[in-house]
Symmetry: C2
Amino acid sequence: MKLKPIELNGRVRLRDRDAQPPRGVPADEELKARTDRLVERLDELQSALFAEHERALLVVFQARDAGGKDGVIRKVFGPLNSSGVSVASFNAPTEDELDHDYLWRIHAAAPRRGTIGIFNRSHYEDVLVVRVNELVPPKVWKKRFEQINQFERMLAESGTTIVKFFLHVSREEQKQRFLERLDDPTKNWKFNPGDLEARNRWDEYDQAYAEAISRCSTPWAPWYVVPADSKKVRDYLVARVVVDTLRRMKPRFPAPDPELLAWRDKIV
Amino acid sequence: MKLKPIELNGRVRLRDRDAQPPRGVPADEELKARTDRLVERLDELQSALFAEHERALLVVFQARDAGGKDGVIRKVFGPLNSSGVSVASFNAPTEDELDHDYLWRIHAAAPRRGTIGIFNRSHYEDVLVVRVNELVPPKVWKKRFEQINQFERMLAESGTTIVKFFLHVSREEQKQRFLERLDDPTKNWKFNPGDLEARNRWDEYDQAYAEAISRCSTPWAPWYVVPADSKKVRDYLVARVVVDTLRRMKPRFPAPDPELLAWRDKIV
């Protein structure tokens, strides 16, 4: 059970049933065990990436409200050494950010060499919420797909491997999660009427997500659509892609300094 | 088994035997279970702090090389929701940072309201390594204790609760950890000759740490000396202080919006 990247300009399926676990998915307990093993492997790979200090990995998460971004980040990246992980959340831009181009704040948060950078939302908001709410005219956001592709290509060519995940939840699952939030006094503060507005424009968002994902799933920065109605399936599938991606990067611990053995005797 | 804050201008004991677990410490397994429970409690308290969005918690870690800063941060704060935690590591300052006062980069990394900010090293380096290596003259670093106290007081009065930990490892334990690093090909890249230099100036650092901790353990930003030769004891003691500190802050979930129930019916 493994996700494939979306084909560039290919068809993106965001039907409700595509949010459900794929066929042949193992039972929850087995899935959880597999995810735990993947996270251990990720931990080792991250150490090597950090030690090597040459390249970076950028992991982008997009989702509808209650789509599970916080949850998957905590599960997959929480156990890692925090020195080598940065998480940047992109909410509505500040005045200072609005005084610059839309990629300015994104670029500033790009991960350092040796680290894994996680984007909780990203520059894709500028072709999603910005498009649906008509915050800029179509001739502006339409140019952004190519701008984003070129920006990501520059990052990739400069040593940052990129993977992007859309956590796909169904309309029914979102409803359940909203209701759970409202009924839980430790969670109901998270709810805001804006979330309902976005829900009411479900189909417009569908179209915006599908176009963004399809047009920007490049060989150097592929998009993955994660069936995310089940949290355990979501965590496993994301961990699997991240581990495979890092494995292909083959990060290597630097060769030991020839003087190391000499130092050994100097520790008194 | 609970740490007490160091008394302002009080005596700080950094003898080797003070790095060992205190008397009456439970067995490793029991300690680990207790730490896990504390981390769960921390998770709940963090949710409330985040929801309340009024105040912040700043946790400062200082230690000698191989003192365990990364380890304790991963163990105690790794499991939390990353949206509400930021970790800032302060290494040797960049040119840009050196063109400003020593608190400039520190201030820029202060945690946002609602979040927990962790400093992996901090402005205390400016009265530690800077002092021992004579990077500035004594009349400069001597003024810093009071400057730091006033800076931290301003933060505290503006809503940021501060706790500071010195992870105290003994000379023998550091030696063991250095040797382990050198013998492990996934870790020996971490070793650099500068670490040995600092080790050779053990007593000078002792004095610098003791003075910094004693002079800057204010009521609004107390220092704790953590016996850190045992990793499990270290994790437990830190988790205990952090949880107690957050508990005293009494973060509260905001009262539910009276319109919440009305929204409930609008989710279609």
